[in-house]
Every structure is written in C-alpha cells, then in structure tokens.
C-alpha cells in the first residue's frame, strides 16, 4: 500500500539526520536489515564488486572490438583484425593479450546514447549514472558507486566507492555529489601521486601508537555533549563516523591495499608492459588497473578510474599505436589476476567510454576520428556477465546499430541488477520528487547475462 508520494516528508529533518548518521556509512540499522531481508528473499546477486575503467572521450570502436576490414579505405584505418579466442570476434592486432582472453568477457555493440546527449560534458553523466543527468538543471542522479554506498555498503573500515585519480577527464569530479547526500560521495584519491592529500589522509599522519594515544585523549575530552549521546542522532552519528574513521586509520587493510611496494616487480612489469614515457594524448596510469585489483582484494566494493583521454580528433592512428598496447597489457593483467584469485565471477569489470568514434576518417596521414555516438563498444566481464559473448551488431561500416539496440538506461539497470540493487528502488531528488534509481523503465541487457 505504499503509494508513490506518500512517503513524502514522513520524517522531519532530525530524523533524516538519524538515518544519515546513525550508522557507519549512512545507512540506518533498519535500512540494513531491510536490505538483508530482501537479499535473503531474492536470488543472491552475482556481483559483489565492480571495477570501471573509464575511457573518457570515446575510444574508437572500429579500431578495437568492432573492426570492419571490408569497409572502404577511408573508413577502415591502418590496422588489421586478428582472431580472438572467441570464434566470431576479431579484434585489433594491437590487442593480442585481450584477444587471448576473449572467452572471458562480453562485447556489447548495441548500446549508445544516439547523440542524445552527445558531448563530453553530458554523455559521461548519462553513462555513469544511467540517467539523463546534465551539468545543471536536472536532478543530480547518483553514480553507481554512490548508490552502492547507500544500499549495499561494504566493510566498515573501507570506503565503498573509491575513485582513483578522477572520475572523468573532461568533467573531472563534477558528478561526485548526488541527491543521495555527501555521505555517499566517492573517495577520490590517487595513491600513485606523491602529492595527493586525500591519499595521505587515508593513513595516519604519525606512528600508530602515537595516533592511538591522541585518539584516547580525544575520547577523554569529548564528553561534554555526551549526555546527548543516546538521544541526539547527530551526535550519535558523529561518534559512529569517528569510530569508523579511526578504525579505518588503524586498520592496515586500506593502507596495504594502496601500497604497491607489496607487489613483486614482475607483476608491476606485467601491468606496465608497453607503457611509454610520452604519449600524444594523456594516457592515464596503467597502475590503476593494479591498484584497482588490490582494492578489490581488500574488499572495496566499487572502484572507478579514468584511463587517459580517448578523444582523438587528430592523429588517431598515432594514438592507437601508443595507447592500445598499454590498455591491452593493463586490462588483460587485471582480468587474468582476478580470474586466478577466483574473484572474476563476483567482480564486474567494465571498459568503456561515453561514445564511439566516427568510422569515416579519411586517408590522410594524420587522420583523426571525430565524435560518433550512434555506435560504440562496452567491454564487460565477470560478475554475471557472460564469458565469451557478443551482444548486438552494427552495420557494415560500423555506423549504426542494427541489432539488439539498448538504451543507456538498460545498461544501468543491468549493472544494478547484477549488483543486487533494485533499480526500481525509490529515492528522492532534492525537490522531494520520488523517482527510481534508474528513472526510466528499460529492459535488462539479457543477452549479456550468464
């Protein structure tokens, strides 16, 4: 009997604070119990964790996983396809390692924004939230990781949603916040950057015993408002957050996860194989693949990183030659390592950008590929995605989707479905409008599901 709007304003503000504050990551005990009982009833979700390798700008689909060797020379570009381990899937000759692993992932060729919207400011917001979020004037829909932080939080001493470096090359971190509230924003840091204050913030700034001693003093001094503890949700919430924060600092888990000195050199070399000192376009950091793996092993539920900039209007093929081998090494090392550790079945691994590139590129020496948002690719592995599968198809030039078209909403719903979060979960925008996590109804990408 719960009507769409009837839950409006059932709590007053201080109750909201209680809900926002009483427990570790902003989920009240009640919500957690509810989530658990739901989980007990429904089939267990396939994915416990997710890694998003975001290829901002738009990687050239017809040079990668949707090659068209028979198209005219002003379309097909400089590279030849090679057969992959998956019969029927030919990939670029510069992706030999991923070709070997093609029996582990799904390539989706039929999800696109259809140029609506189709630019570097708005399309990433659509892809990364599954909703028509724009830079302003629309509701601030959450990223998948923020929803996970609210509805499926991970271990208390770890962030649920970690972003390495930044969310996107173009819009940076402007979609970090959402109407779910700041408690569910991602932790954005880059342990590979020496000067990153946020990364430093995640481990104590002093020796642990000294820190513990300080924390003990704080506890002794922080008693003035204690009479309110059991009473005031705000104060109880702050206490709980402080406890979690200090547990996090004392726990070696996160600190060790981001410490790459724990890896042997061979492993690092595998991830950094073909990594150049200089690139034509920003390349991103291949060690983010490794860092992501370590965070997943530690138990962080959602890890996102932006791998360079794939907006190659000029010198597309120069960039391909530089950037594909690096990408090939990083992603294949990640998939192999996850598989070896038995984590791939429960971890979604995505590699995608906000659009494809224009199949027609001309034949000039320094040809580039312009924007193209009527076709692109999504690489999805693990966590309930099929092993070795192609979904959808494009026409013979790679310009238009001809088969199994899905909207971005379908993609978002599929991710939530696999993560065990109901995409129809009702949430409220800042103007108190009840909407669903994915506002629009859309079918799951069922062909991609194992």
């Amino acid at each position: 009997m719960n009507l769409g709007c009837n839950s409006f304003r059932q709590h007053h503000r201080r109750d909201f604070l209680r809900i926002g504050g009483a427990s570790l990551c902003g989920v009240s005990l009640l919500e957690m119990l509810r989530a658990r009982s739901q989980a007990a009833g429904a089939a267990a979700p396939k994915a416990k964790q997710m890694i998003v390798c975001w290829m901002a700008g738009g990687p050239p689909h017809t040079d990668m996983f949707d090659m068209k060797p028979d198209s005219p020379s002003d379309y097909r570009g400089e590279f030849k396809p090679i057969a992959s381990k998956l019969p029927g899937l030919d990939v670029c000759e510069l992706l030999p390692k991923l070709a070997e692993l093609a029996d582990k992932y799904t390539i989706i060729r039929s999800i696109t924004t259809m140029n609506n919207p189709g630019d570097h400011a708005r399309a990433p917001m659509y892809w990364l939230t599954g909703n028509p979020r724009l830079p302003s004037g629309t509701a601030e829909y959450p990223m998948y990781g923020s929803a996970a932080a609210k509805f499926k939080p991970g271990p208390a001493e770890l962030p649920t949603f970690a972003v390495l470096g930044k969310i996107d090359h173009h819009i940076n971190n402007s979609i970090a916040g959402s109407f779910l509230g700041p408690a569910f924003n991602p932790f954005i840091f880059d342990p590979n950057e020496k000067k990153d204050d946020i990364a430093k913030m995640l481990s104590p700034q002093m020796e642990l015993p000294a820190f513990t001693k300080q924390a003990d003093l704080l506890k002794a001094l922080d008693s003035r408002l204690r009479r309110q503890d059991g009473v005031d949700p705000l104060i109880a919430g702050l206490d709980a957050y402080q406890q979690t924060a200090f547990d996090m600092l004392r726990s070696p888990k996160l600190r060790e996860a981001v410490d790459l000195s724990k890896e042997d050199e061979k492993t690092i070399a595998r991830y950094k194989d073909k990594h150049l000192d200089k690139y034509r376009y920003p390349s991103g950091d291949p060690l983010h693949f490794l860092m992501a793996r370590r965070l997943i092993e530690a138990g962080v539920p959602i890890v996102h990183f932006s791998l360079g900039y794939w907006d190659w209007h000029g010198e597309n093929f120069v960039a391909v030659r530089q950037q594909f081998p690096m990408f090939d090494s990083g992603l294949s090392a990640l998939l192999t390592d996850l598989e070896e550790r038995g984590l791939l079945d429960t971890t979604i691994v995505l590699a995608l950008g906000e659009m494809g590139r224009k199949p027609k590129c001309g034949t000039e020496k320094n040809a580039g590929r312009d924007h193209w948002d009527y076709a692109q690719f999504v690489l999805a592995a693990g966590g309930g995605f099929k092993r070795g599968c192609i979904v959808g198809a494009t026409d013979k030039l790679g310009e238009q989707v001809t088969d199994n078209f899905y909207k971005v909403e379908s993609f978002g719903r599929t991710l939530y479905h696999l993560l065990g979060i109901d995409p129809d979960t009702q949430v409220q925008t800042l103007s108190s409008r009840p909407i669903k996590l994915i506002a629009e109804d859309a079918p799951l990408v069922k062909e991609a599901l194992a």
Binding site: C5, N6, H11, R13, A176, L234, S431, S432
Partner: protein, 883 residues
C-alpha cells in the same frame, strides 16, 4: 484506573457512527470512485502508470488529473482486453490488480476488497464514463481536525467529500493517510490514528489528488515538573505554553561561556577570542548578554555571514553566457558587495527585496551615465578592487537579473523560492502533489517577469537597441584605437628603446661593478664619480623604456576592456524591462513530457483574480506592491522563518522553504506574531535577529533531561547542529592561529579574506575540498532548495578533520597557536587553559585539565604534547557542532 478510562473513551470514539461503504456502491462513477481507487492503490503515481511514458504499456494521468484520458486508456487501448464486459472477472484490470497474472507493481488488492468491488461493479455496469464536472471536488473535510491523544491511544479519521453536483459522500475508505511524524503518531490505511510518542504531528489525508490535514497532539504522561521558567519575551511565552501543553519541561539557561560561543558563531561566524571569553565571564553586569548581542549585531561579521546566506539563496555566482561580457570573477564579488552594503546599513527587508526585484541597469539614469558606470566598474577590476565600492553604491542589484536563468519561468521559480519560501518545481509540469499550486498559478506568476530582458548575445540587439549599439561602436572604436596605438608604440618607440635599454642594462651592470671597485681605493675616486654620472644617464634610458612599456601595457589593457567587455555589456547585458511588443512570444509557457502549457494572465500566487497591466508598466512593481501588503501571506513569513531556522537548525515551518498549508508550523501563533511585529517594525532585520537572540529559548542549554529528550520540534532544549562549512574552516584558522592563502591574487582578492567571504570557489585545493565535503551549495540553478547546503555529517568530513595533512600542518605551524603559547606562556596548565579558550571558548574542568597535563607530560616535548591536545580539541563534537 486512569488507563482503563482512557481506553473506554477511545472505544466510544471508535463506535462513533457507522462507517460509510461497508460495501462498494452498485454503480460507481469512474471519475469519482474508480480514479480514487487508482490513487489509493498507487496505480497513477509518478513511479507507476502515472509516469510520463506509463508503465508496462498502460499510461494513466498523474494522480488522476485527467479522468477522460484514463477512461479511454482502459476501455479502448490494448484491444479492449483491460476491460471484459462479458466475463467481468477476466478483465485484465482486475487480474493485474490482484496479481492473478504477473504484474510489475505486484499485488495491489485482493478479490472481495472494497477497492476490488468498486472496480468490478464499475465494469459490471459496462464501464461507463461519467460527467466529470458533476464529480469535481468542491470541499474535502476531515474530522477530527485536531485531537489530543495519549500515547498508545488510537482513533479513526473520517473524510467527507462534497462534489460540484451538491452531493456529499463519506470517502474515508478511498482516502489515503500519511503521518508527517510517524514517531509521534502513525496512521494506517483505513485512517486509524495511533498515538506513539510525545509531540504533535500532522496527518495528511488525500482523496484523489486533493490533500487535507488533521492534527494530533500527544502530551507526555506523568506529573508536571517543577515551576516553569520566566519568559524573556513573547517568543518564550509561545514556546513555554506549547511545552506546558505537551507536559515537557524546558531546559535551563546555558552558561555564559556556552552562550557567548553560540551567539558569536551564529551572529558573526567566528569563535570568541580567549580574551573575549575571559572578559565576558568576569563581567558582573546582569544585562551583559543583551549588550553582547547588540555588540555582535553591529560588527562586520554579521553582515558578512548574512551576505553568505543571501548569496546562497540568490545563487549569486551563476554568471556568463556567450558574449555578454559578464563573468563570475567580475560579477560574483560585486553582487556580494552590494548585498553586504545593504546588510551593513540595515536596509529594511522589504526595501531590499524591492531593490533586487525591480532592478534595472540604468537605475533611472541616462544611457550615457550608466555606460560611464560600466567603464568605471571594469576599470576598477584591479588590486584592490575599487569596482566593488562603486557597485555597492548602486540603487538596485541588476546583477540579480544578469545571472543565468534569472528570467522567465525559471526566474519565477527562484523568486518564489527565495522570497516566498515556496518550491514550485513540481508545478512546472503538473499540479504540485504536496501543495495547492497548479501549473497555471506558476505560469501566471511567471508572466510578471517575462518582460525582463535576458542577457546574452542576440543578433537582433543591434537593431532593437540602436542607442546602445551606437555606444557599442563608439567604445569599440576607442578600444581599437588604443590597441592600435599600443601596437604602434610597441613597434616604434618601444622596440627602439628596448634595444637601447638592453645595451644600457649591460653597460650599467658593468659600470656598477667598476664603481664598486673604484670606490674602494682613494686614487680612483674621481673615476668613480665620472662613472656615476654615466650610470645616471644609462638609468634614465632604462626608466624611459620602462615607462613606455608601462604605457603600452596600459593602452593594451584599456584597449581590450573598451573594445570587448564594455561594449558587450552595454549591448548584451543591460537589464531593462521590455514592453510587450510581441504578445504571444512573451507568454510564460512550459513544455514538458506531459505537454505544453502557457498563460497570458498576470496573476499573483494565491490570488484568484488576474491583474490588468497598463501599457508600458513594469509588472514587477505590482509584485513588490503585493509583497509589501501587510496581509501578504508569504513574504514576511519566508524571511522570519528562515532567520529562525538559522538560529535553531529548523524552521517554525520546516523545511523552511516549504511554506505549504500542508506543512504546518510547530508554533503558528508565534510565527504570526513574529511576522506581524517584524512588519510593524518596518521589516527591520536587526530587530528580528535581536528578538530571537534575546529570547530564553535561544539561550537554553543543549543538554536535554530524561523528560525532554524525545523532543525534536518544540524547543525543550537547544538542538545541536553542525557548523556550516565556511564557519568551520574559519574556526579552524582561528583556533590554530593560521590563515589559509586562498591563492586568488590573480583575481584581485584581498589578502586575509575569511572563508565566509569567499564569493566563489578559490584555487586553494584544501579549501575547495573541505567546502565540498562540508556541503557548500553550488549556487547555480541545479537545485533551488535550502537543502542545497548540506547539513548532515559524513565519514569523509570526520576523516578530513582528523587526518588531512593540511590540518596537521596548521596545528604544527611555526607561527601558530601552539608555537605562540610555547613562546609566551611558561605555565603548563595555563597553556592548556588557553587552548581550551581558543577552541571551545571555555575553561577546562579539573578532569580535562588533568588528562591534558598527563598527555603533555608523557609527550616527547611540550610542543608535541600541546599539538596533541589541540588536535584532540579540534576533533571534539564540541568544536564541530554549534551547541
């Protein structure tokens, strides 16, 4: 015995008259009953079939607003399978509702229920449409409208609907019920209210899309506690009366140190200094609190803090569209300076609103005079920024209308929010589901602002504004001329002198060395003197060169300004009211997935009659007249309620920007009286602040008692809340005796600016990170809501205060608090007392002092020890919270 009696009373209530409709009517009306069933079962909600695209192939109008369309959808679409007139029970409508066939919305009702029977009987009667007008709702009543109940007691609500055809029905079974505070009273689907905890709550009752409200008051059981305290002003009388009614004892007054910290933070956004605390504690004057309040309100911090609040509310940094010459770094600080000047001179609030809402760029002056101002403003964008003073002297705030989305329907939404405390976004597309507003209310209100010119490049501006265009040409010409002169100078004299100066510099350096050598020996003194003469002549050449370079730079800069920013602003950013030259084009209209709606009327919110607008009249003046009418239901209320919310963390109506009749005030009489007196005091904001601050309600302790701890809305104690982002960062600076470099010299920000004074995000990464974590609002149109400033807490907030490297650096700063104490204070306990005064604004008690002393004693050095103490104090709740 008492309990038994009360149970008996409840039983009597329950038995009060037969409930309507033990059974469904034999021939239910579609628009009256069937649509009501859809509303009751949630079928036509926005997340189900009421969605724009419908759901599962069926689309119903949102909240049943269009019964005819709904009827057609059910009877005609889907090959008529939704309704089976021959085999009624096989109708898809019934099978879906009872989930006998798979239904995305699950099971909504079961066979044999009243709702089911209404649907069934309607189909059995051949699913007719009916005359909608006859079933239009004219009155909806709920009884009892107000009820006192004891915790644990329960009573039914009755809902009576009167229709346009004069008939009246008990529609209780078709109504939905929800409680605004389920902790005080819950209500079930049948309308049975159950009193739970102490307090008062509104029950919102809805029939079809219409809401109506019933109040329940639950008093604390047990004997009244000790004698009530004396009220200090009329606020306290209202607050204490309500607490008496609820049988909740109010808390004691807070002690002097707590009061001082609280008032200083709330009024000026600053911590008290240790000296100020000491002095205040030692002061024996019984009037010292009132005197302190007056002092605080007269300090610059008051205007600074409320400038921040108003600039949040007015989205004061949303500038710059294509080629209008406007930019955040020019405009946002000017906007801020104007507001701050008005607050510093305590402009009456109605005048403030009028000077914002009726703003024009010319301010009644000639075009030429205004253009001179534009030039002066742009010239003043330098260090220090003299333009700020010029702008602050303007009569009206044209920058308000120069922001993005300031005009039209979106502008009307902002004005309704900022000045009337209403959130009307919902009414853009459909009837507001939680308020009284219809789409036409919003659009007719928006028409008052449709005539304001929208800034930005328009090709037609050249024709439309010929005088401005002439000026555009003139300034552009002057600018280009200067640029040309600069170029000439650079290539001519500049180049020539540059070569000379270069040789002169080398020569001068050589001479200087020689002179130094020559001066050492007596025999070369004469040579030195001669070389000094030569040197002087070389230096003159260099100076001449520098002067020319300066002249070139200035000409270039001024040339750029005159040929670019100035003419663009004159032609594309002048705020004026345009006449309604093309009537159809100037109508407020909204296109949403639900269709296009427009209005050509000028109708004020809540008024039934449209206004006639004379030719050439600026309709915004009519809005101001209406705002200033003493019976305006919203204008004074919105600001009074917001000021209250600033001091208490919640509005008398809460949230403070939801002044809806369906969101009742906790203390309606008090709100009325505050508004009335505020108006009687000529909208004097300082009066309002002073009145609230001097109440005992504001000065209560934040410590609740066992009898009052359940209170959340009746001010039995002072509710703690987190300090706002900017205030907290300034407090951190103050406590550590450091000052963040905002890194904005390039934009001519003055050195030493406090965080509350920041007009937009600076370049200092630490400040930006902290402001974002602690919920600074974005000040753009993405969210027009008081909630855009986030007030809740998060893990990252706590973590950043405890462990951000910059926080640690500030604690250990060589010129900071600890370093200063080590230098100036030799007494160990005295140092700790100072740290307490500097952070928490109070002296430590014996146990606290002992704990700190022990910690310092065990530390590697006194510095280390004191840093640990300071870190601990900064991370206490007492520091982070207002309490």
């Amino acid at each position: 015995m008492r309990r038994l009696l009360s149970l008996y009373a409840v039983a009597l209530l329950c038995a009060g008259g037969p409930r309507a409709w033990a059974e469904a009517p034999d021939s239910p009306l579609f628009s009256r009953h069937v649509v009501a069933v859809f509303s009751k079962l949630g079928c036509n909600a926005g997340t189900c079939h009421g969605a724009v695209q419908g759901k599962g192939g069926l689309r119903l109008s949102l909240f049943g607003a269009q019964p005819l369309a709904d009827h057609a959808a059910l009877v005609r679409e889907h090959g008529g399978r939704r309704i089976d007139l021959l085999e009624v029970d096989r109708s898809l409508l019934l099978l879906k509702a009872t989930a006998k066939v798979p239904h995305g919305g699950g099971k909504r009702t079961s066979a044999g229920s009243l709702e089911y029977d209404i649907l069934r009987n309607w189909i059995a009667a051949t699913a007719p449409a009916d005359d909608i007008e006859k079933s239009r709702l004219t009155k909806l009543e709920v009884t009892p409208r107000e009820q006192e109940a004891k915790s644990g007691a329960s009573y039914p609500l009755k809902v009576q609907a009167t229709f346009a055809d004069g008939t009246s029905e008990d529609v209780t079974p078709l109504a939905t019920f929800s409680s605004l505070d389920a902790g005080v009273a819950s209500v079930d689907a049948a309308g049975q209210v159950a009193a739970q905890g102490v307090g008062d709550a509104a029950i919102i009752v809805r029939f079809r899309a219409e809401p109506v409200m019933s109040q329940v008051i639950v008093a604390r059981e047990g004997s009244p506690s000790v004698a009530a305290p004396e009220p200090q002003n009329f606020i306290d009388e209202h607050i204490l009366a309500k607490l008496r009614r609820l049988n909740i004892p109010p808390s004691e007054l807070a002690d002097d140190a707590t009061f001082l910290r609280r008032a200083r933070l709330d009024v000026t956004g600053q911590l008290p200094t240790p000296d100020e605390v000491r002095k205040f504690l030692a002061d024996a004057d019984p009037q010292k609190r009132t005197k302190k309040i007056d002092q605080l309100l007269s300090e610059p911090g008051y205007a600074a803090l409320w400038t921040l609040k108003f600039c949040d509310l007015l989205n004061a940094s949303d500038f710059g569209v294509y080629a209008d010459g406007l930019a955040e770094h020019f405009e946002a600080p000017r906007f801020q300076a104007w507001i701050r000047a008005r607050l510093a001179e305590n402009t009456p609030y109605d005048e403030l609103a009028a000077r914002i809402l009726t703003a024009t760029s010319r301010d009644g002056r000639s075009l030429e005079d205004w253009a001179k101002e534009v030039v002066a403003l742009q010239e003043g964008y330098t260090s220090p920024r003299t333009d700020l003073e010029i702008y602050a002297r303007r009569q009206t705030l044209d920058a308000y209308w120069q922001r993005k989305e300031a005009v039209g329907v979106h502008g009307a939404l902002q004005i309704a929010h900022s000045f009337l405390g209403l959130r009307l976004e919902c009414a853009q597309c459909h009837r507001h589901p939680h308020d009284v507003w219809q789409q036409d209310d919003l659009l007719s209100f928006a028409n008052f602002f449709m005539g304001v010119r929208t800034v930005g490049f328009q090709g037609e501006n050249e024709k439309r504004y010929p005088e401005e265009h002439a000026l555009f040409k003139q300034y552009e010409g002057e600018g280009k001329k200067l640029t040309e002169e600069a170029k000439q100078l650079k290539e001519g004299k500049g180049k020539e002198l540059a070569e000379k100066a270069k040789t002169a510099r080398d020569e001068a350096n050589r001479l200087k060395n020689e002179i130094r050598r020559d001066e050492e020996k007596p025999e070369t003194q004469a040579a030195a003197a001669e070389k000094r003469t030569q040197l002087a002549s070389l230096e003159q050449t260099i100076a001449e060169h520098d002067a020319v370079q300066k002249e070139i730079r200035e000409k270039e800069q001024r040339g750029r300004m005159l040929s670019d920013d100035v003419p663009k602003r004159i032609l594309h950013a002048q705020i004026l009211h345009r006449l309604r030259d093309d009537k159809s084009k100037r109508q407020a209209s909204v296109t949403s997935p639900l269709g296009t709606q427009s209005s050509d009327k000028f109708r004020l919110l809540g008024e039934s009659q449209p206004l006639e607008m004379a030719e050439g009249e600026d309709p915004r003046r009519k809005v101001i007249e209406w705002l200033r009418r003493p019976d305006n239901p919203l204008f004074a209320r919105a600001i009074v309620n917001r000021v209250w919310a600033h001091y208490f963390g919640r509005g008398i109506v809460d949230p403070p920007d939801d002044l809806s009749p369906y969101n009742p005030a906790t203390h309606p009489e008090m709100l009325d009286e505050l508004c009335q007196r505020f108006i009687d005091n000529r909208y004097d904001l300082l009066w309002l602040h002073r009145t609230i601050l001097t109440s005992r309600t504001y000065q209560q302790t934040s410590i609740a008692s066992a009898e009052s701890e359940m209170d959340r809305a009746n001010y039995a104690f002072f509710y703690p809340r987190r300090l706002p982002a900017e205030v907290l960062l300034d407090a951190l600076d103050q406590a550590t005796l450091t000052r963040e470099d905002l890194d904005m010299q390039y934009y001519h920000w003055p050195k030493g600016m406090r965080t509350v004074e920041v007009p937009y995000l600076p370049r200092n990464n630490f400040i930006v990170f902290m402001l974002e974590q602690f919920g600074r609002p974005p000040r753009n149109s993405s969210a027009q809501c008081d909630c855009a400033r986030q007030v809740d807490s998060s893990l990252l907030q706590v973590l950043s205060f405890a462990n951000h490297p910059r926080v640690r650096e500030k604690i250990a700063d060589p010129g900071g608090r600890v370093a200063q104490l080590i230098k100036e204070n030799q007494d160990a306990p005295e140092r700790i007392r100072e740290l307490y005064l500097a952070t928490l604004g109070r002296v430590p008690d014996d146990a606290e002092l002992a704990a700190c002393q022990q910690y310092v004693g065990e530390a590697a050095s006194p510095e280390e020890g004191l840093r640990g103490v300071l870190w601990s104090l900064l991370n206490t709740k007492e520091f982070v919270l207002q309490h």
